[in-house]
Each structure stands twice: as C-alpha cells, then as structure tokens.
Amino acid sequence: MKGEWVIFPGIPKKDRKSLNEYLAAGGYEAARKVLTQMGSQDVIEEVKKSGLRGRGGAGFPAGVKWGFVPRDVEGPRYLCCNADEGEPGTFKDREILLHVPHQLIEGMIIASYAIGANKAFVYVRGEFHKEAASLQRAIDEAKEKGFLGENLFGSDFSLDIVVHMGAGAYVCGEETALINSIEGRRGWPRLRPPFPAVKGLYGRPTIVNNVETLASVPFIISRGADEFRKYGTEKSAGTKLFAVSGWVKKPGVYERELGIPLKELLEDVCGGSRDGRPFYFVIPGGISAPPLTADELDVTMDYEALAEKGTMLGSGAVMVFPEGTCPVRVALRAIKFYEHESCGQCTPCREGSGWVARMLEDVEKGQLVGEDLELLADVAQNIFGKTVCPLGDSVALVTLGFLKKFREEFEKHLDAGRCPYAE
C-alpha cells in the first residue's frame, strides 16, 4: 500500500531504538549531509519544496515557518519540539519517542541548524514517563557519540537538547502556552503578534514544531523533497501517522500517504467494523475536529478534502464510533474535557465552556430547562473566534459540528426526556 511505513519504518519493526541500530539503518546521514554540505537557507528551501506541513494539527508549512525567523538578529534562537500530544484520540508521537527517538533528534539537529538555534527543547507531555526516558536515553547516546554537543560532524555548529516535562495541561500543547510553560510561567497562551518566530522563548526567535514534523525532516534531506512529494497530494505532501481508535478490528498507529481514502484506512488497513455494526460517525483529526457522519465517509484524508467537509485532519487521530453510540454523549464528553482544560485566561472560553457543558449535560439527560438548542448554538457561536488561542474555537466547533450533524438526535433526547441510548 502506498506510503506504508516509508518515513517511520522503525515503528513497526521496532529495530531502531538504540543509536547503533539507528546508525545501521543509515541514521544521522541526513544530519551529516546538512552540517557538512548544506547552508541553512538550502535546508529551508528543501523543506519548503517538500511541502511538509505541521503534523500537530494546524498544518502550517514547516519550511515557511522556519523562514519567518529573522536572519539578521543577533543572539540566541530556540527550537522547541512539541511532544505534549494531549489531543484526545492522538497517540502517534509517543510511538516516535519510544521507537525512533534518534530520528526525532536528527530532525531537530537539522531544524536547529536551519534556523540557527544552538539550544533546543523537547516539551514532553507530563504523563509520558516512559517516552521521556526513552528520549533522554537517546539524547545521552547521541551526546556520547558526539552527535549532540559541540562542533557536530566537524562543523562549527553546536546543539544541546533539553527534555522538559510538562505537568499535564492540555493547553500547553498550544505553542505559546508551551513556551510560557518552559519559561516556568503559568501555561497561558500568549497574544499574537508577536509570533514566536520573532519573539518566543525567553523573548527570542523560536520555532515550535510537532514531533512527527521534525522526525519527517531527515527523510526529506536524505531522499530529497521530490521523493517525499511522491506520496500524498499536491497540497498535502508526504505521509502521515494515523492514530486510529474506536470500533475497528485493528486500532493502532499506521503510516500511510496523505490523501488515502478514509474508507480504505478504516476497512483495509484497520480491518473494518469490530462486530459488523455499521459506523455511525468518525472524528477524523482528534477530538477538536467536527465529526463526519456515515454518509460523509467518502473522503480522502488530506488537509484540503477534510476542510471542505467542514472538519480537519488535525493530528491525524481517527476515532470511529459504531451505530448505537450517543453522539450527544460524545459531544458532552469532549466539552467536559475542554471545560476542565480551559486555562481561564480569556473570557469567552473560561465562562463559555462551562456554560456549554452544563447545557449539553442537560440535553443528554433530556432535561434542558428554560433554554433551547438555539441558545446552545448561540453561546457556542459567541465563543468562536473571540478567544486568545484555538481551545475556545474547539469548544464552538465541536458543539456546533455535532449539533448540525445530529440535530435530530439532540431533539430526540429532549422529546424523550432521557437519553434514548441509555440502558
């Protein structure tokens, strides 16, 4: 199948955990090539040419982002790797941290060189103890071998990587909150502008990239942007790790090319429905992506096609729900999560997420008193687009998405005075 384990062959084979194994598979050749033969601008150009887009959720072109770092500014710059993987349903970055940590380190060396950073941070989700240990072991190995530290590969480039553990806040996966958290401040997102590329960590130019994004870079350098572009679509190039969970026979992490039809991913790759029950809806990109109903599943998994359907590829976390699932309950569960994780900084998200959660709770019980679904929609709409970071937008998108696609289910709850799916 196209794009099957092209960039991350080490994940299914589990044969590249240690430095020696990684070297045996041709590891660190891309970093060596970059440091000995390429200028930083060439690296950025190559990544731009590859069309690699952010794999954390937003899908912003990585090379373009790197290009935003001002070249003529003196003093330190920083690279931050976002390993906070907090989006419910997402579990792909941990595979990289556990099975191919050196691939991430190599990607970070290349990215740091491209933006001129001599210090890089990996912000690891608070719950990822094993993953952080695996990464730290790899960093120590690389340091010992001279792949990290001073004068890498005989060049005058030096790099240190620091593993920073988060404390379990979802919002710290947002890049400016992540920066605040590394600085030891409260994990509150910052206002933009200034963008981190201009003024980020410790007030210096900073690039924040997802684990998968950075770990894809060595492939682009060693095999070339054109090879990378062989996979995926024109605007969504390359392959992607899909984290499939829910009602399929073989849930798990799969690398496939972008643009793979969702049906193919669910039926052929994941073995289809667990017990033959038809799928009711699918959340294609982590909990913040509005759901696709059963008759919308004829879609390809790339940034554009999903955006056209009013949802998003997000982190590539595909959650599959069979018939018999109460969509109101799923929406409620998601909103409860946001309510709990809302950082409390800006008004609409702080006050609105709790309000929406209470209304959904009542809808689920079939007892929405004195308020109606119009109000639910209006409150969600009042949050949308008015918050500091996208967490508030997610509250609105999920609520409005479920309400739009499962309106009759919501009404059924209210008519019955109870959840029709309840035992």
């Binding site: 502008p193 950082c343 409390g344 008004t347 709790g354 309000w355 209470r358 687009g385």
Partner: protein
C-alpha cells in the same frame, strides 16, 4: 516619533507611531471598552472586550494589541462587534453575584457601566451561579472573587510596577481566581493602588468597605502633600469629611498607601475647630476679634515661622504681613523618610521650592532656634498646616507662642494660643517642589472657626467684611 494616518470608523486621523488602537481612538473621542488593558502594564488581551474589526483580518482583533501603522483601517461599532461585546459581557456576568447595591465599586465600575452601555438586557444563563468566598489579601485589601473578571491588572501591577509579585492566578477555567503566594500577604506600600486599578468591585480597600457610596459623595481633584512627588489625587468628601483618597489618573499617578491614608485623615487630626488660649491644662475659646488682636500685637521684635506645608499664596500673605509689620520670617525644614523608585520621594514636604521663591530672604531653622535661645524673640507665630511630625521641631518657645497648626502644640510659652489653621484642602493653592508645581482648588470647608493665613492680607479682610482694628 513620526506619525501615521489611520482610519477609525471612516474617519481618517493622524496619530503618533507605535500606539495601539485604544489610544488612537481616544484621540478622536471614540471609546473602545476594555478591562485588562492599562497603559502602565503589559498587554495580555485576555478580557476580549476591546475586539474590533481590522481590515484584512478575518477574525475580530483585540484593539489593545493592534498597533497603528500607515493605512490601517479599523471599525469599532459594527453589528458583529456589538454582538461580540454583548457576548463578553454576558459571559462575565454569568457567575457574577450582581450585588451592585452593596458593592463599593458601584457607580465607578467598568463592568456596570459597560453593561449599561453595551450589554445585553438580560442574561440567558439559568443555572445556579458558581459563587466564591470573600477573602482577605492582607491588612488592606479584600477580594470578592466572584465579582472578578480576571483581567489580571492587579497581578501585573504587583509584578511589573511594584515588583514584589505576591499576587497570582490560581486554578484553571472558571475556577481561576486571584490569589496570594502561599505564606504571603499584600502588605506592599502600594497595595491600595490595586483597588484603583481594579476595573470592577473585586478588590476593595478594607477601611472603606461598606462605609460609603462613591456616587453619593463628590470627588474633587487635589494633590497628596505627603512628599515632594505631589501625586495628583481625587478625594471623596462626605458630610464635611474627606473619606477616601484615590489616584486622579491611574495611567500617570501611582499613589502610595501612606499618602492616601494620611491625606484622608489629614483634617481629622485637627485638635480643635476653634481658636484657643492654652492656660495650664485648661483651654479658653477665643473670639475672632481676639485672634486679630493677638496677631496685631506682633511687631519688630517678633517672628513668624513658616512650614513647607504652607501654600505659595499663604506664604505671600504671610510675607506681606511680616513686611508691613517688620516681623522677621523664618522657614522651617521638612522631614525626610523612606523613598522608592515608584513615586515616594525622600523629602516629605510639598512646598520647599515654593517657599524658597516667595520667602527668598528668610532665615532657616538654625537661625530660628538660636534666636529663640537668645531670647531675642518676644512673640512667635508658627504656621504649619500639616501633621506635627512632618516638620522639624522648634527647640523652644518664646514668651508668646501662637501656634497655627493641626495638632495640640507640643511646646508652650508663657502665653500659648492655638489657631486651627486652614490646610491646602480648605483653601486650595499652589505647591512647588523639586518634582513639580501644582495648583489646586479647595475641596471643602473651611469651617467657621478655622484661621487661614490668607486673612492676613488686608484685601481679604476687606472683602470678608471684617472691621479693621
């Protein structure tokens, strides 16, 4: 700094470079409502009240973080913005106790004002409110967390201006609450300033709490005279008393707690509202003509001592009087005390420069003390319209001491008279210090028995209808 042309609500204006849209709009009289933005503090853009439309931007943008640039086009009053403001106000009020009738801030509260100006008529929130406990943040401040809009002005002020940083936000989501670092309290010398900065009724000052309604007493602008910084303040007057002192303009005047408390209490320290003759332990009330007679007896052998709490106008009246009668003039020195980088200055006297100018030929404290010691002075008029502790003590008293001050005279002559002197709050006037020169109007009074040095100028006596002795 150059200027740029921008368009606000279809009006093109030229404003200085680098300012944000809130400030730019102010210049053409357009108010953009906001809670968290404050010119003295860093920009966080968290209240979302100042959302505006910026041409070329898909989403509404916070005006506080939108900086002017050539050709910038913004709108501040479209339907979408109105709806956004309503949304933010509705959100802010869902857990607000709506206890304006007992809130100290009512009448000067941004949340209240904005709700009337921009808010929805009624809330659509029908759940029980999440109410929070009232708590003490130290010896000066109380926090009503459920009135709080989490603008974090207080947190930023303590961190960025006072630099003690004892305040922080605790908890997440709608459990977030302003709090103090464990084991600490807000006992800073600028704690009360936080209540001025608070746009709502969340932070209130303990001695003021529940005592007065701000909309029932007039607030008049004056200065704080407790150090030479001469901060511009507003005082609230209720039934002939000063009941509170706040910063006249939080964007420029950072008023210390000491200044506020002492300005508020200044007139309360007055020993007697009537002129008195002190006879041993007893006191006899003096009639106005008796006061005039006592002062008219002053002549060539006598002296007048003027404290730096005397306004320039009072000092002029005293100088003319002294010149007329050949009385020698001495200037008393102020005291010094704690100072800091924010606004407190070491010299705790308001008018030292003014006196140098008006009473340029006068002698100082040392000369006065030696004159008193040698017994050359028969009568001394000591004018100090301030707290006794805020001027250098006079070492001894002559035979006749006329003490025009606030507190009971602590030195006594063979004959001692006490005149309740009018302060700058009751006469208005000009102070000039090394920092600035300010002229203020009177804020209240004076009461009938109070004596002002201005009465010494013959003109005033004529105008007042007094009979010349």
């Amino acid at each position: 700094m150059g200027t740029v042309k921008i368009t606000i609500d279809d009006r093109t204006v030229e404003v200085e470079e680098g300012i944000n849209v809130i400030e730019a709009a102010k210049k053409i009289g357009v108010h953009i409502p906001h809670f968290c933005y404050h010119p003295k503090l860093s920009i966080v853009g968290s209240c979302r009240m100042c959302l505006i439309e910026v041409e070329g931007q898909r989403k509404l943008q916070p005006a506080c973080n939108t900086f002017v640039r050539e050709g910038l086009v913004v709108r501040t009053n479209t339907q979408e913005i109105k709806k956004a403001r309503q949304a933010v106000l509705e959100f802010l009020l869902i857990h607000h106790p709506l206890d304006c009738p007992i809130c100290d801030k009512a009448g000067e509260c941004n949340l209240q004002n904005y709700t009337f100006a921009y808010g929805p008529r009624a809330s659509r929130f029908s759940y029980p409110k999440k109410l929070k406990q009232v708590r003490s943040l130290g010896n000066k401040l109380n926090l009503d967390a459920d009135r709080c809009v989490l603008c974090t002005r207080c947190v930023r002020f303590m961190r960025e201006v006072v630099k003690t940083g004892e305040l922080l936000v605790e908890g997440r989501g709608d459990n977030a609450e302003i709090s103090v670092l464990p084991g600490k309290a807000v006992e800073s010398d600028y704690a009360m300033m936080v209540a001025d900065l608070c746009p709502v009724g969340a932070l209130t000052i303990k001695p003021f709490r529940f005592h007065y309604r701000v909309f029932m007493h007039p607030h008049k602008e004056t200065v704080c005279a407790f150090c030479e910084n001469l901060c511009r303040v507003k005082v609230g007057v209720w039934r002939g008393r000063v009941v509170r002192t706040i910063s006249a303009d939080t964007t420029s005047e950072i008023v210390c707690d000491e200044g506020r408390v002492m300005t508020t209490a200044l007139l309360d320290t007055r020993f007697s509202p009537e002129p008195l003759e002190m006879k041993g332990d007893g006191k006899v009330t003096l009639q106005p003509h008796e006061v005039r007679d006592i002062l008219d007896e002053f002549g060539k052998e006598d002296a007048v001592a003027v404290s730096p709490w005397v306004t320039i106008e009072m000092a002029q009246a005293l100088r003319e009087w002294a010149e007329r009668k050949g009385i020698s003039v001495y200037v008393l020195s102020g005291v010094t005390g704690e100072s800091d980088e924010i606004s407190r200055k070491a010299l705790k006297a308001p008018n030292t420069e003014g006196l140098k100018r008006v009473l340029s030929g006068a002698s100082g404290q040392v000369e006065l003390d030696s004159a008193l010691k040698s017994g050359k002075v028969e009568r001394l008029l000591l004018v100090h319209p301030g707290p006794a502790a805020r001027v250098q003590k006079v070492s001894s008293a002559p035979a006749v001491l006329v003490y025009a001050g606030l507190e009971e005279p602590d030195i006594k002559g063979e004959q001692t008279y006490y005149l309740p002197v009018a302060t700058y709050l009751e006469t208005g006037g000009t102070f000039s210090s090394a920092v600035r020169e300010v002229t203020v109007d009177k804020v209240l009074g004076p009461l009938p028995g109070v004596w002002s040095p201005l009465e010494l100028s013959e003109e005033d006596r004529h105008v007042a209808g007094g009979v010349k002795a």
